[in-house]
Amino acid sequence: MFDTLLPYLLAGVSVGGQYALIAVGYTLVYGILRLINFAHGDIFTAAGFFMVYLVASVPLPLAIPLVIILTVVLGFVVERVAYKPLRSAPRMSIMISAIGVSYLLQNLMWYVTGGLAKQYPVLPGLSQTIQIGSATTKLVTIVTPILTIALVVALVMLINHTKIGMAMRAVSVDFETSQLMGIKINNVISVTFIIGSAMAAIGSLLYFTNYTAVTPTVGAMPGLKAFVAAVFGGIGSIPGAMIGALIIGICENLIKAAGWTAFSDAFTFALLIVVLLFRPTGLFGEKTTDKV
C-alpha cells in the first residue's frame, strides 16, 4: 500500500514545496497591501519563459541568476506601474488592476511565444532520476523541500531580526501609522515584491523541471492553489503558507492516487471554502477586530 502511495507522496511533497515558494509571495503582499496579487501566477509563468529563452543564448550557470533577476525586475515594475498609483484608491480598484495586469501578461506571453507550448530546458542537478524506496523520481523531489525550508527559515529570520523585516511587520499591522512613524513605505513594498518574485522564480526552476510544458496560462492554476495555501496557512504567516502549501500538494496527489483525478483541482477550492467559512484566519493567522 505504501509502495503504491509513495510516488504520489513524493510528488505531493515536491509540488507542495513549489507551491510554498509561490505562496510566500501572495502572503507577503496580502499582509502589507491587503491585495490579492492576481498577477503573481503570471509572474511565475514569465519566469518559466525567461529561462526557456535565455538558455538559447546564455550558458546555464548564468541563466539561472538572470532568470531570478528578470523576474524580480518584472515584479518590481508591475508594482510601481499598476499598484502604486492606486494605493489610496478603494480596495476593489487595486484588485481590478491586478486582474488587468494578469490579463496583460498572459496576452503578452501569448504574443511573444506564438501560443505553442515551449519545452523547459533540462537543469542538471535537478532532472537526474534517482531511486527513493520503490519509486523512481527526479532529484528535484529531494531538492525542493530542502530548498523551500531553507528559504522559508531565512525569510522568517529576515522578518524577525532585521530592520527591514521589522518595517515589513509594522506596515502589515498598520499602514498609515507606519508611514507617520517615518518608515519608507515605497521601499518596504518594493522589498516585499522583490522577495515574492524571487521566491516565485526559484519555484519556477523547480516546478518546470517536473512539468516541462510552458504555456502562457500554465501558472494560473498553481498561482490560485498557492494563494489558497496562503489563506489556509493564515494570511501573514510565512511558515503557515509553507505548511498550507505542503498539505495541499500532498492531498492533491493523494486524491489522484485514489483515482479522483478530476477533483484534485477542485479539492483545493473546496478547502478554500471550508477555511473561509470556519477558520478565516487560517492555521496560523492573527485575528484582527474592526472598530465601528
Binding site: M95, I99, G100, Y103, L104, Y111, F263, A266, I273
Partner: protein, 356 residues
C-alpha cells in the same frame, strides 16, 4: 408632459431604432458577417456584464463567480433542448444520457436562469457573510468547483462529462436571418427587468449597502437578505446569459468557462463604469468589437516596400487591447459612464458639477 416621462419615451424610441438598425444590418450584411457576429456576441456579453454590474457595481459585492453561473445556465439550456433524435449521438459515451425529453427554447431559457439562481442561493448562504476580498476568492473557488463537477464522469449522462454538447437550437436555427433581433429582444427584456429593479426601492437598498453597509443596516435594511437577493437575481440573469452564449457558440464545453471569462466580464464592467447599466452595454459592444473585429490589422504581418513593420504579428491586437484596459483601470477608474446613466446626462444627477 413630465420631464421623466419625456425622457422615458425618447429612450424607448431610441432603443426601438437600435433594434431596427440591428435588423437592417443583418439583412444587408448577412448573418455570417463580422458586424452581425459582433452585434450578437456584444448583446450577450452586455446582459452578462449588466448582471455582474448589478452585483459588483450596484450592491458593492465583489464576486468573481460569474463564469460558474454562466456555465450552469448554458448547460441547463443545452441539456434540455437537444432534439430527441440527436441525443444518442451526443451522449454516445453515456448511453444516450439521463435526460430523455426536450423542451422549447423559451422555457429552457427560463430554466437556465432558475437553475443558476438556485446554485446562487445555495452558495450565497455561506459566502455572503464574508467580507470584501474573501468574498471574491470564495466565489471564484465555487466557480472552479462547479466547473470540475460539471465535467465529472459520474454525472456524464447528464452533462456529457468533458465532451462537447451540441445539436441544441442555436441562434442560426431559432430565428434564422433575424438572429440579431432575437438576441436583442431577449437581452433587452432582461436588461429592462434589471433596470426596473434598480430603480425600485430594492435597487435603492442595494446602493445603500454599497455606499455604507453599517448605515444601511442601521436604517433597517437586512444585509444578508438583500445581498442574497442581489446575488440570486444577478446569477439568474448570468444563467440566461450563459444560455444565450451557448446559442451563439453552437457547441459547449465546460472547460471554456474558466475564471478568465469572469475576468473579461469584470474588465468590461470597469470600462463601462461600475454602477452604470448603459456603461456596461456600451463597453460590451466596444470590447467585443475590439477583440473580434477591429484592430485585426495589428495581428497581420505587414510588409511596406522592403520593410517589415515591427511588432505586428498575431496576438499583438490583444496586447494593445490589454494595455488600453490597464490605462482605463489606472487613469479612468470611473470608466466611460462612472455611476451615471446615459439617459441621466443633462439632468442634475448626470451633471459633472453634482458629483464629488
Amino acid at each position: 408632459m413630465k420631464k421623466g416621462n419625456k425622457r422615458l419615451i425618447i429612450s424607448l424610441v431610441f432603443v426601438a431604432l437600435l433594434y431596427a438598425a440591428g435588423c437592417l444590418i443583418e439583412h444587408t450584411a448577412g448573418t455570417k458577417s463580422m458586424v452581425v457576429t459582433v452585434l450578437q456576441k456584444g448583446a450577450v456579453y452586455a446582459l452578462i456584464a449588466v448582471s455582474m454590474n448589478l452585483l459588483n457595481g450596484f450592491t458593492g459585492l465583489f464576486s468573481l463567480g460569474q463564469a460558474g453561473f454562466m456555465l450552469v445556465g448554458a448547460y441547463s439550456y443545452a441539456i434540455l433542448t437537444i432534439p430527441m433524435a440527436k441525443r444518442a449521438a451526443v451522449y454516445q459515451y453515456y448511453n444516450g444520457g439521463w435526460v430523455q425529453f426536450t423542451i422549447g427554447v423559451i422555457p429552457a431559457l427560463l430554466v437556465a436562469g432558475i437553475v443558476a439562481a438556485l446554485f446562487a442561493a445555495l452558495i450565497g448562504m455561506p459566502v455572503l457573510r464574508l467580507k470584501g476580498d474573501y468574498l471574491a476568492i470564495a466565489t471564484l473557488g465555487f466557480a472552479e468547483i462547479i466547473r470540475a463537477i460539471v465535467q465529472w464522469d459520474t454525472i456524464g449522462p447528464l452533462t456529457n462529462g468533458s465532451n462537447l454538447l451540441k445539436t441544441y437550437p442555436t441562434l442560426k436555427n431559432i430565428m434564422p436571418g433575424n438572429t440579431v433581433l432575437f438576441t436583442f429582444i431577449v437581452v433587452g427584456v432582461c436588461i429592462g427587468l434589471i433596470l426596473l429593479l434598480i430603480n425600485s426601492t430594492y435597487g435603492r437598498a442595494f446602493k445603500a449597502i454599497r455606499d455604507d453597509e453599517v448605515a444601511a443596516e442601521a436604517m433597517g435594511i437586512n444585509l444578508f437578505h438583500h445581498k442574497q437577493m442581489a446575488f440570486v437575481i444577478s446569477s439568474f440573469f448570468a444563467g440566461i446569459g450563459g444560455a444565450l452564449l451557448a446559442m451563439y457558440q453552437g457547441s459547449l464545453q465546460a472547460n471554456s468557462f474558466k475564471s478568465s471569462m469572469t475576468y473579461e466580464i469584470l474588465l468590461i464592467v470597469v470600462i463601462g463604469g461600475m454602477g452604470s447599466v448603459s456603461g456596461s452595454i456600451m463597453a460590451s459592444f466596444l470590447f467585443i468589437a475590439c477583440s473580434e473585429w477591429w484592430l485585426r490589422f495589428l495581428d497581420a504581418e505587414t510588409v511596406l516596400g522592403n520593410f517589415k513593420v515591427p511588432l505586428l504579428a498575431p496576438g499583438f491586437r490583444m496586447v494593445v487591447f490589454s494595455v488600453v484596459i490597464m490605462v482605463v483601470v489606472l487613469f479612468f477608474r470611473k470608466g466611460i459612464m462612472g455611476d451615471r446613466e446615459l439617459w441621466e446626462l443633462g439632468s442634475r444627477r448626470g451633471a459633472k458639477g453634482g458629483r464629488k
